[in-house]
Assembly symmetry: C2
Homo-oligomer: 450 residues x 2
């Protein structure tokens, strides 16, 4: 690994950025150098002690351009940060330098005809709230919806609540345009539209600083949250698949948990009988009429229902799903970690069943049904009772050998995660926008060889 440690006179740096907010307090800088990679014991070990030198908090694109110019001039590594809720240490600087905190850029430009234009630091929940005023909402959101920024979601996330209908962020149509500031000698703000957005989509902040985004919205249905419990896991899973495949039922979330996962949700205990397997659902109010029929077909039991009117009251089911499941489990037992998987398209869910039985309690099944290329399949964030790195890798390999795609969340290298290979278009774009290789350095394998 190349060392990029640079000798920077930070006083000169700060002076050059006069007027831009900076944070130099060591404790705060350390805190803003962190994210949620701590869910992984491997990343916890590998990223320990990695901190930036200074945090810069631009409030406008003009300020971002100034920061970019100064960093390019002094060849200072730049790690962009939204809310720092990423899970792969994407926000953790491997070579110090500037933490560029985008969370002050919270302007929502416009919302029109189902499209929103906004700054990268806008929180998903804030956008959603604003969009709802005109009958729209975001198409998909991670379970960190309350805190995560849109820029961070696009640069570091994949999908979430809503993906059962709209697929993932990477799918054509879920991102319409974005503007990035380059780290060239004379930084520019470049607008990418249409398919060109893929040059920056999910690029972990290595391909320019996203300042603005344009995303399509979804119609805001009145949504109902429900819990359905089952005596048998595979029946719960098949119910999830059937609901996913029911084209006449409008839905936003289908999560299925094997026992004992529901026992980690203390706040929901009364709705989750001992030993039960559970489906957490978000369904449009206009689809409620026909849900009992489907539930009955699979022998499920409806134990909880929160109406659309009460959306802002009490607990939010979605904050127990996606990687919040891991969060809740870890708060009970911090030895638990997780996997990220995509099961093959197969309505009989044979591979799910195989893994469920093969690993038993060591890998607890947590399915998130999503659309992938037009079909509903179970993604999974299985909970793993961690013992050793070797065993973890064995578990991963066994899944892969059986046709399960694993987006390994125990690495900070882009290609070792979900990508497997860096998109050549992204690499080409990187050469242009980041000629000195300053952006989030050390995370791209393809660049390490060179």
């Amino acid at each position: 690994m190349t060392s990029m440690e640079v000798e920077v006179n930070w006083e000169v740096f700060v002076a050059a950025l006069a007027g831009v907010e900076v944070i130099t307090d060591a404790a705060q800088v350390a805190k803003l150098s962190q994210d949620y990679h701590t869910f992984s014991p491997i990343l916890q070990r590998d990223l320990a002690g990695k901190v930036g030198d200074i945090v810069v908090r631009p409030a406008t694109e003009a300020e971002v351009l100034r920061v970019a110019a100064v960093c390019a001039w002094y060849r200072i590594p730049v790690t962009v940060r939204g809310a720092g809720t990423g899970n792969y240490g994407q926000c953790v600087p491997l070579h110090g330098g500037v933490i560029l905190d985008m969370s002050r850029m919270q302007r929502i430009g416009w919302i029109e005809k189902g499209v929103a234009r906004l700054e990268a630091g806008v929180k998903l929940a804030a956008l959603d709230k604003k969009a709802r005023e005109s009958g729209w909402e975001i198409r998909m959101a991670p379970s960190t919806y309350r805190t995560a920024t849109l820029g961070g979601f696009v640069a570091g996330g994949s999908g979430g609540i809503g993906s059962i209908t709209y697929g993932q962020l990477r799918d054509r149509g879920n991102l319409l345009a974005l503007k990035v500031v380059t780290l060239e000698d004379e930084p520019r703000a470049i607008e990418l539209r249409g398919d060109d957005v893929q040059k920056v989509n999910h690029a972990w902040g290595v391909n320019g600083i996203i300042t603005e985004l344009e995303i399509p919205l979804a119609p805001a249905y009145p949504w109902v949250e429900l819990i359905v419990t089952f005596d048998d896991f595979m029946t719960a899973a098949s119910f999830g698949q059937a609901l996913g495949d029911a084209d006449g039922i409008v839905k936003k979330l289908i999560t299925v948990f094997a026992a004992p996962i529901p026992t980690y949700f203390a706040a929901l205990r009364q709705y989750l009988p001992e030993e039960s397997h559970a489906a957490f659902l978000i369904v449009a109010e206009s689809s409620l009429e026909v849900l009992p029929g489907l539930i009955q077909e699979y022998g499920g039991k409806l134990t909880y229902q929160k109406s659309a009117q009460d959306a802002n009251k009490g607990v939010n089911l979605w904050e127990f799903t996606w990687n919040h499941t891991t969060l809740h489990a870890r708060s009970v037992d911090s030895s638990i970690t997780y996997l990220q998987s995509l099961f093959p398209l197969d309505k009989s869910l044979q591979t799910v069943e195989q893994m469920y039985h093969y690993f038993g309690d060591e890998v607890m099944m947590h399915l998130e049904f999503i659309r992938v290329n037009g079909a509903v399949i179970p993604a999974a964030l299985q909970l793993v009772r961690y013992t050793t790195e070797e065993r973890l890798n064995e578990i991963i390999r066994y899944h892969e050998a059986n046709g399960v795609f694993i987006a390994n969340p125990h690495t900070y290298i882009i290609e070792d995660g979900g990508r497997k290979q860096m998109d050549p278009e992204q690499l080409k774009f990187k050469q242009m926008v980041d000629p000195y290789g300053l952006m989030n350095p050390g995370k791209i394998k393809a660049l390490m060889a060179s």
Copy 2:
């Protein structure tokens, strides 16, 4: 076939219904005994001369109840009629009797939170217009949308424009409740909700007289209509599949025509170069940004685009799709008839390709992509250059032998069409609501044996 010809004193009948509108004029009665089965040379032959004795046009459910009582008392066959746009002679009375024309029952009860309650005679276009006032629209509609009634669509249709997103009418969730009047000695109006609607869904008017329906609506996106042309049919078809599978692109229609079908559309000639294969699309405005990328990937050429603002101006592309394609083709060459098919789930579209090459110009490929059990597959209403009944059956058998499901539109027997077998629940329900077997008699094979 049992003969049901009854001796009715129609004067007494009319007197018993004093106050209810009736039509006795022979020419009018003959006209209202017809539907669009004329697309099929077989049905044209088999249904020639079949007419009702009288048309009754109730304006309220109370009137329907009166008509039902009188018909039950005198054992008069009842053929319910919406707008009479059905294609299988569903509206043609095999044994005379009453034509019950529901088209006066046009009240829209309420539209709330994405659900509408309305009378069976409401025209789809009228409902759509009303729903749009509050941001909603119908989920799916046949291309006869301007004239067809909702009752007729539910009792006789299957799906259409919108089915690429919401699947078909029979899919759980696309119909929430309906009310039917029975033909018992003392007719009742029965409300069926949830899964119970399946007892009447697509029952061709044999299972009670639908007076009201409750259906879920879809959010009304601003829609754009487009034509994309291709040099090669299979590329056009693959484009259609890819667009269908693009979860991030919101759409309402994906139709693909092989040459020479586009030449039948005189009004669109300028957008359809000679020899070209064409895709007719309806896509949400917010998905337009990314469409050029996909079109380019498949070497298509965008030749026509009508913006959402102009929705009510000029031609409507959807009036060239679904069975309107057959209508336009037949207006040029009346020897043309058609098939109704569902191709197997296979993204490489091998069976489509096989049929395309095997039949050449005799069976012209017309694909309508729709969602079936959660996946996008091509349905088809191929145009057939008709020669003999024998050859038509041969064509059908060849498709079936190669895994293509055919909903034969050349029969007036329910089970010989798309159903294959009568749902036992529907038969049971029929025994209850129509104890004398008066409703649309002669169309159910299962009842002929007995």
